[in-house]
Symmetry: C2
Subunit: 137 residues, 2 copies
């Protein structure tokens, strides 16, 4: 709970119920969350609009980042290292379990470099692996 308040304060955000609850959700799960997950998990105690605005604020501050998905949903995840340092290092692999549908940040697996065709200058790379996670195997 200390950590939670630290994160908000460090980023110059006022401490409100919605921010505390939503950030707590991210801290207690290892999986990524979609907007809909957050609405469900907080029992709809916050206005839908507040959830949108809270997520947007967190992304702007670099507290969470979004993860590429193949469908039209946006997944958000907070990753330990980032938060501790206050800036983004989401260069790790994301794993989507096709069984339990969770998206997990594999903090220890970094995205490998690839050789691109001539003329292409890479700036940032993301990688998503689908399969069966440790819990569902």
């Amino acid at each position: 709970m200390e950590l939670l308040l630290d994160i908000l304060k460090r980023n110059g955000l006022s401490v409100t119920e919605s921010r505390k609850s939503i950030l707590a959700l991210f801290l207690q799960r290892e999986a990524a969350l979609a907007h809909a997950d957050i609405e469900k998990s907080t029992n709809e105690s916050f206005d839908r609009v507040t959830v949108y605005r809270t997520l947007q604020t967190f992304v702007e501050k670099g507290i969470i980042h979004n993860i590429p998905t193949t469908d039209n949903s946006i997944l958000y995840a907070l990753c330990k290292d980032n938060c501790e340092e206050g800036h983004h290092h989401d260069n790790h692999v994301h794993f989507i379990c096709t069984d339990c549908e969770k998206t997990i940040c594999l903090e220890d697996v970094t995205v490998p470099h690839v050789k691109l065709p001539k003329g292409f200058k890479p700036h940032h790379a993301a990688m998503i692996v689908k399969g069966i996670c440790d819990d569902c195997k």
Copy 2:
């Protein structure tokens, strides 16, 4: 244009105006397309619903596949090899140019394998590289 009809017929699809136009769009561009791009490019000559249904049909038949994105859009791309063979091999890297905003299939760059933590069984991997493309450099 021959190719175009071949693709439709090979997949057991009847040849209609919308399918021809939309498939032609994919064939003449190397970049991936979003639903909105298609509506614009076809001059809104087709109903929005038809575009949805056509894209869905193409995905089901394996003519196009969708590409992961960080925002909440869905990008679709047809990749040469897949179409020639009639089934999916989209295990190549996708490049998103942050300048022209195009998403390009790098057919020749395959997604590298990564070593996952114990218990994780990979099934499919995708990789997205952001940066500056050959045209914008």
